[in-house]
Amino acid sequence: MPQNIEIIHARFRVAHPGFTLDVDLQLPGRGVSALFGASGSGKTTCLRAIAGLEHAPGGYLSVNGEVWQDDSRGLFVPTHQRPLGYVFQEASLFPHLTIRRNLEYGMRRVPKSARPENSKIASLQHVVELLGIAPLLERMPHKLSGGEKQRVAIARALAASPRILLMDEPLAALDLKRKNEILPYLERLHDELEIPLIYVSHAPDEVARLADHLVVLEQGRALASGALGETLARLDLPIRLGEDAGVVLEGEIAELDAEWHLARVAFTGGNLWVRDNKLPIGQHVRVRILARDISIALGTHLDSSILNVLPATVEQLADDTHPALSLVRLNAGGVALIARITRRSAAKLGLHPGQKVWAQIKAVALVG
Amino acid sequence: MHQRKFIFSLLIFFTGLASADEVQVAVAANFAAPMQVIAAAFEQDTGHKAQLAFGSSGKFYAQIKNGAPFQVLLSADDKIPTQLEREGLAVPGTHFTYAIGQLALWSAQKNVVDGKGEILQAGHFTHLAIANPKLAPYGAAAIEVLKNLGLLSALQTKFVQGENIAQTHQFIASGNAELGFVALSQVMKDGKLRGGSAWVVPGNLHAPIRQDAVILTSGKGNPAAAALMNFLKSAKAKGIIRAYGYDF
């Protein structure tokens, strides 16, 4: 689980005609940090600056206590001397090398002192296994599908024993099928990786599934930066992952109801029933709850069709974009939820901070 | 239809070149300088115009054999006009010697070549430029001179060959060859050496370099061609020719 120790510190100021990037980010040294934003928001530029592929003058960057860029001291470590892994949007495998040679390319260039204790072969085997590319090793890149190529690109980045992994929309060039083929591997990475991963994306579902920490970029500025759950539950700045505001909760499968094909997800704030997706008990999962799918009641209604009802406390009320609607932040056993209701309903129920209510959850999406 | 039109315009084009008051002259490279002066005088005196092309006589021969539209050839030797006559490519009886070339051993620097050509014996130089003896009469004459001086085998390794006498001159003028055999006409103007140092090779060291002119079959009946031949024999032309270091 991510510990929010801020170990990556990145401060960049880039000014091109028609584009500026002005960020000062503290990112956790473990887990997945998503840089989320529309195209042109500066997220890729930011990632490239972290990699040193772009030199943002006057910038500062330290990763796990190592300073890679500090222009006030004239320090700029060139990319090839930074122990990082980078996955581009297009797999960009070397077309003249077999998959094995592609994987070994970075691995061979890791200085001896920086190699992990287990032998070279073991680490190669590990990433090959992790990304399920063993059958591809002796092939040439042009024989691979887009999804396979991208898995190899990820493995290649990992094989070079990076201390930080950077991914620039690795799924954006793939169709839905390929995307779904890779996402499980990325989730495995998320669970197994001990190094921080910075993940650039404009796709809400990827962020919801993968991110622990969320940075929202807009026009070159960081609008928000914080743990995923907290950031999504902010009312001053409702982050719209997709068409609507909502939160993501983490929990695990606690019970299966074979008769009704349901699974119970236990999380800090209680339990939620979701459709059984054949996940085993104990499986770590994420669920996404959109604000529009939560309604608020003052009492429980056993005659309702709604399956998931959680006790909660009103924390904050705020106007939504439309004058008829308001957003309500609820605290359900320490976990933040957002509900969208009409202002009239809010007035009718007399909602105010500290009030005990019931959150009726119409739909819960299992996102990973 | 189109093809016939095209051929017709080609005909007009070529016959146009052969108009009565114009003559196409192929001139040996060594005679370029005096011929330009002569052509100007010729035009002034007769009203005819001489179009000059300069090059090596061997190349002109090949071109004439293959239908080049020259009407008069001023060759650097007497062999080519004779041969053209024999092959029916020249008008019989028009062939005469317009100049006798003089060979000079020349250096672009002063005080390199002495008045007697003794530097050849001393041999203190790296390159001796000559015109390709296979192609240029001045080159053949230079070989003859060296043979007669008994220096051929000693100096052969120092030869650099110009394709023609003009290129040979360039090798020496640029200083890349310290000295070499050129046509006196190339280094002389108005009876004086233009620069550097030279030894005018005595005529008895080689067979005379007769430069012959001939009217070619395509120039038959062109009054300008006949007029040019006459003009070359005039005192005026001979004065110009002599001033450029030729003999008669």
């Binding site: 090839h80 980078y86 970075g106 | 390159h127 650099v160 640029s174």
Partner: protein, 226 residues
């Protein structure tokens, strides 16, 4: 029946030696130039590119003439080579090499530049993120990816040097075994009306050039890069 004479053999041998040395030198000199041209954003790119391409449009005699003057004892190159104790270059094999390198430069630099251009930025960035330094990247990524361009450049540079005539004529001095290459030999034969000997060499040259270009088109067809 005309047999290929010793002078012809010596001219062929000299020509092959000249073309080989020239091609090797062109790779050494042309690769950095092509790389720079493909990568730079400097304003010098256009002038340097134009300079390299000059031999494509200049008559060889112009190049030959200027080389003759420049490499002569009074010329800047001549002064330099003399200061180095090398003497002057015209009428020597190495003089021809210098001339050929300049003359065939665009035939090597341009295919290389195109190949480098076609590689783009991405593979270099990928290599950098995989800890390959610039030289490492150049040899392990750029050169292998530019292979079709390298082959084209080598073949064109070699063949163009073999076919060179004007420059050699101007600075060579037609010395048997030293500067009399095949093309000059052919020219001499033609000039001397020795058409039979000329035909042997000329036909050989024609066949050679055709085979070289054929190889180029068969093994390196355009637009088949993956």
């Amino acid at each position: 029946m005309v047999t290929i004479s010793d002078p012809a053999l010596s001219a062929i041998w000299l020509t092959l030696r000249l073309a080989t040395v020239t091609t090797l030198l062109l790779f050494i000199i042309g690769t950095p130039i092509a790389w720079w041209l493909a990568r730079t954003r400097s304003w010098l790119k256009a002038p340097v590119g134009a300079l390299v391409a000059l031999p494509l449009v200049l008559p060889p005699t112009v190049i030959g003439f200027y080389l003759l003057v420049a490499m002569g004892p009074q010329g800047p190159i001549g002064q330099f080579t003399q200061a180095l104790g090398l003497g002057v270059l015209p009428f020597t094999f190495w003089g021809l090499v210098v001339g050929s390198v300049l003359y065939s430069m665009p035939f090597v630099v341009q295919p290389l530049q195109n190949a480098f251009d076609a590689i783009g930025e991405r593979p270099l960035e990928v290599a950098a993120t995989l800890r390959a330094g610039p030289w490492d990247t150049f040899f392990t990524v750029v050169l292998p990816l530019a292979r079709p361009g390298l082959i084209t450049a080598g073949i064109l540079g070699f063949a163009h040097t073999v076919g060179e005539f004007g420059v050699v004529l101007m600075i060579g001095g037609n010395i048997p075994g030293k500067t009399r290459v095949v093309s000059v030999q052919i020219y001499d034969h033609v000039e001397a009306l020795e058409y039979a000997q000329a035909h042997w060499l000329a036909a050989g040259m024609l066949v050679f050039s055709f085979v070289v270009l054929l190889l180029l088109y068969v093994f390196n067809p355009n637009g088949r890069r993956k």
